[in-house]
């Protein structure tokens, strides 16, 4: 092959890749559309829930590290969830501030001689407390080991067959547990169920619960509203239909405790421990050829604050890309495995091609086209075509996600909110998506060179928690 041919193929290659990646997501949206109609039909009528004593009780695991300012409000709102039987297990992961003292004082915690079962490895436990005010509230105090380690400690201490990993700053709805546990009631093979996470910025929160949905006032979190719809909601809905959803958000997901213990719990040597666990559950159940299902509940039942500054957003996206890379690498045995099913033959290759390596190809494409044009090896026509493809397909994807939202939950009911979203759908393709791709490339690079991961600092405004 000579240089001109290589140039030609490179240009065509980038164009085809951009078309392919967006077409893949459009196909997922189409599957999500078909699945959504059926889901909405069947769940539109909320039949009354009379407690019968056979509902699966749930252990809510709330890892906490340096949360002295917000932990009280978080736990108080979690204790108001409506569900027949659940316990709240707060795991103080060696906080250096007064998180432990605050919990002990606010909830009248006292040391309890609990028979602790060490089924998963974790850092040493310093003490287990029970609340004298709330019989279903417990606290595990341990040495610092990270979120995954804290969750493992919580799983060890959990009493119930299902556990729900909840971020301390997640805002739930009163019936969130009912919604996320429904797949377990309908299908005994379900081993994990994830809730949809929506952006809380701009919403009104009272008493720890969302009372009014709003759009963020700032552009950066507003972009993330559309991004969450596009990438995290309808994409996952599509994969659920194929039993190939590879991520359940760490902010809110329910798992069968015994199946998680069987596969070894959360890995603490991994940045994206939530995704890695789900991929491992797929891998080990597929290879063992055990019937199982991992579901995703599309109802908006969990809300979280999105980063409002570029610095924090960058740190988050770098961490996510690292987590993706680690999860795929650690479970590469599933890829194209004979027994891999949809996760091994569809979802993982999709993730590899369109999530993992895509930052490299996308940034490479932009650089190649722009540099090539500057040096005269890429024509103006091809450059324009490249941008037309990138923007048109990108916008179609975002608009299709908005269409799905309009058909399904329509949580932004005010006309001006819809107009704002329509504007964002167009605007995000002019810089925001490209910037996120660049951050993901940094994450990929850092994973590749094996640099030490850190969570950075999520600067949260979380005024609703301070005002509760």
């Amino acid at each position: 092959m000579n240089f001109p041919d290589a140039l030609y193929l490179t240009q065509v290659g980038f164009l085809i890749y951009f078309i392919a990646i967006h077409s893949g997501y459009l196909l997922l949206n189409l599957i999500a559309l078909l699945t959504m109609r059926s889901y909405l039909d069947q769940h539109s009528l909320q039949l009354p829930r009379a407690y019968c004593g056979l509902e699966p009780p749930i252990s809510l695991l709330v890892p906490a590290y340096n949360e002295e300012a917000t932990i009280t409000a978080s736990i108080r709102s979690i204790l108001q969830l409506e569900y027949p039987e659940y316990e709240v297990v707060v795991i103080n992961d060696g906080s250096r501030d007064t998180t432990l003292e605050v919990l002990i004082a606010e909830f009248r915690m006292e040391l309890f001689p609990e028979a602790y079962r060490q089924q998963l490895d974790c850092k040493p436990i310093r003490g287990i407390y029970r609340s004298r005010l709330f019989p279903n509230l417990r606290l595990i105090d341990k040495e610092n080991g990270g979120k995954a380690d804290a969750l493992n400690a919580g799983i060890n201490g959990a009493r119930y067959p299902l556990f729900c990993a909840v971020d301390a700053d997640s805002i739930l709805q009163r019936d969130s547990l009912w919604r996320v546990v429904e797949p377990f009631l309908e299908d005994p093979t379900v081993i994990a169920s994830g809730g949809t996470v929506r952006i809380a910025n701009g919403c009104r929160v009272e008493g720890g619960f969302l009372t009014e949905v709003g759009l963020p006032g700032k552009l950066l979190p507003a972009f993330q509203v559309v991004e969450y719809l596009r990438a995290f909601l309808f994409g996952r809905m599509g994969w659920t239909a194929l039993n190939a959803v590879l991520v359940i958000s760490g902010a809110f997901g329910v798992f069968r405790r015994d199946r998680v213990i069987e596969v070894g719990g959360y890995r603490s040597d991994c940045t994206g421990e939530d995704m890695e666990l789900v991929v491992r559950l797929h891998r080990m159940n597929r290879l063992a050829r055990r019937p199982y299902r991992i579901c995703f509940v599309p109802d908006p039942i969990c809300w979280t604050e999105a980063p409002e500054t570029l610095k924090v957003l960058k740190s988050q996206r770098i961490r996510w890309q690292r987590g993706l890379s680690e999860s795929l690498a650690m479970n590469r045995g599933l890829l194209f495995n004979r027994h891999g099913g949809a996760p091994g033959w569809l979802a993982m290759p999709f993730m590899l091609l369109f999530e993992w390596v895509s930052p490299l190809i996308e940034v490479g494409g932009y650089l190649f086209m722009l540099t090539g044009f500057a040096f005269g090896v890429v024509s103006g026509e091809v450059l324009a075509l490249f941008f037309l493809v990138a923007l048109s397909f990108g916008m179609l994807l975002s608009v299709s996600a908005l269409l799905l939202e309009e058909i399904s939950f329509r949580i932004y009911t005010k006309p001006r909110q819809l107009l704002a979203l329509l504007g964002i759908v167009v605007l995000e393709n002019f810089g925001y998506r490209q910037l996120m791709t660049y951050y993901r490339l940094i994450g990929l690079w850092r994973w590749a060179i094996g640099s030490k991961a850190s969570w950075g600092t999520m600067t949260r405004s979380a005024t609703w928690q301070r005002n509760s």
């Binding site: 909405l40 039949l47 028979a115 005269g376 075509l385 397909f393 269409l403």
Partner: protein
């Protein structure tokens, strides 16, 4: 070729697809705006319907005789969810008043017409509505019994529907309309359909006649095994323990399925069954052992103390904890005994379980 141009057929194709995609994007944007317009219009219409009917429904629920026109099909379909919500939130005489009002304004006919719809949501609404209105019983002046029988005939096949939620809703409605008729037909289905969660079934059955439920379960018992037998035993837990103990004995005799054994042991509460329960304390499955230990706590006498103490050293945590709890609740055991036991027992895990239970009893 140093650089591709749009005269290249491949790139020309890419251009066409990009332009089509751009056009499609604009079309979808228009569709979104249109959908929102239609939704807003529907919401306005719904609001005006509710503004008109809400006060009437509230007065009807309060027992007033309310004069109201017949609903048309569109109004009725919009009003149905709200009528159902209100209906689910009231109790007592208000239920009958609201049901009679719904019949007078034609809501029943609208629900029946929706039953034939292919749409799951509409069918669910219809099934639920008929369950309420039909259960109001005899509107003798309107041939209420015949109408109820007709609804029953329409709903019965829906219980066999592959759609779990539709079939469950139909079963629930049939139990409301005529539980005497429905129980013998539905309970065999409940026992067989693994997709009908016990969490949904138990509240439905709690409202049924326990004597009839007992007869139906007794009739099915000899013919089931495996998971169906387990489900039957879980349902049987609704009935008084003295009525079901012999079923548990029968199940323990004929089955080796762990889930069945565990479900049967849940029903054990007669001290005369202690020898049977003891047999399962060493079962290989911890789920069976945990039920055995819990059951032993209900039927034990003084000679079972060593067995419960031995269970404190079981390899499975849950068995140890349940053994400790069973010990703590024995009527002839007091806290001092438990405290002394805690000091004398050599197994660390046994001691942990006892300490926890002692602390639980102290704070209870």
């Amino acid at each position: 070729m140093a650089s591709a141009t749009l005269s290249d057929p491949l790139l020309h194709g890419v251009l066409i697809s990009a332009l089509v995609v751009t056009a499609l994007t604009f079309v979808l944007l228009i569709v979104i705006v249109l959908l929102r317009f239609l939704f807003t219009r529907r919401e306005c219409r719904l609001r005006s319907i509710l503004d008109r009917w809400r006060p009437l429904l509230t007065r009807a629920a309060a027992g007033e005789v309310v004069d109201a026109p017949q609903l048309d099909a569109i109004e009725g379909e919009l009003l149905l969810p709200h009528w159902n919500q209100l209906r689910e939130s009231i109790r007592g005489e208000s239920e009958a008043s609201l049901d009679a009002f719904a019949h007078r304004i034609g809501l029943e006919g609208i629900a029946r017409s929706l039953l034939a719809s292919g749409n799951t949501r509409s069918r669910l609404l219809a099934i639920n509505t008929l369950g309420h209105i039909g259960a109001a019983g005899a509107f003798e002046e309107d041939h209420g019994i015949e109408r109820t029988l007709r609804d029953v005939a329409t709903l019965e096949p829906l219980c066999l529907d592959n759609n779990t939620i539709v079939s469950l809703a139909a079963a629930r409605t049939l139990l409301r309309l005529d539980s005497t008729w429905a129980l013998p037909r539905l309970v065999p289905l409940m026992v067989q359909r693994a997709d009908w969660s016990m969490v949904r079934l138990i509240p439905m059955l709690r409202a049924a006649d326990t004597a009839q439920l007992e007869l139906v379960l007794a009739d099915i018992l000899p013919r089931v095994e495996g998971s169906a037998l387990e489900r039957l035993l879980l349902i049987a837990a609704i009935l008084p323990q003295d009525r079901t103990a012999h079923w548990a004995r029968m199940a323990l005799e004929k089955s080796t399925d762990e889930a069945v054994l565990a479900a049967a042991l849940r029903l054990m509460g007669d001290p005369r069954d202690a020898p049977i329960v003891r047999h399962y304390l060493q079962h290989p499955s911890w789920q069976v052992r945990v039920r055995a230990v819990t059951a032993l706590g209900r039927v034990a006498d003084a000679e079972d103390l060593p067995r419960l103490i031995a269970a404190l050293s079981d390899p499975e945590w849950w068995v140890r904890l349940r053994a400790a709890r069973a010990l703590a609740r024995l009527p002839f055991i007091d806290h001092e005994y438990l405290a002394r036991l805690c000091e004398t027992v050599s197994d660390r895990f046994a001691r942990d379980a006892l300490l926890q239970v002692i602390a639980e009893e102290r704070t209870a």
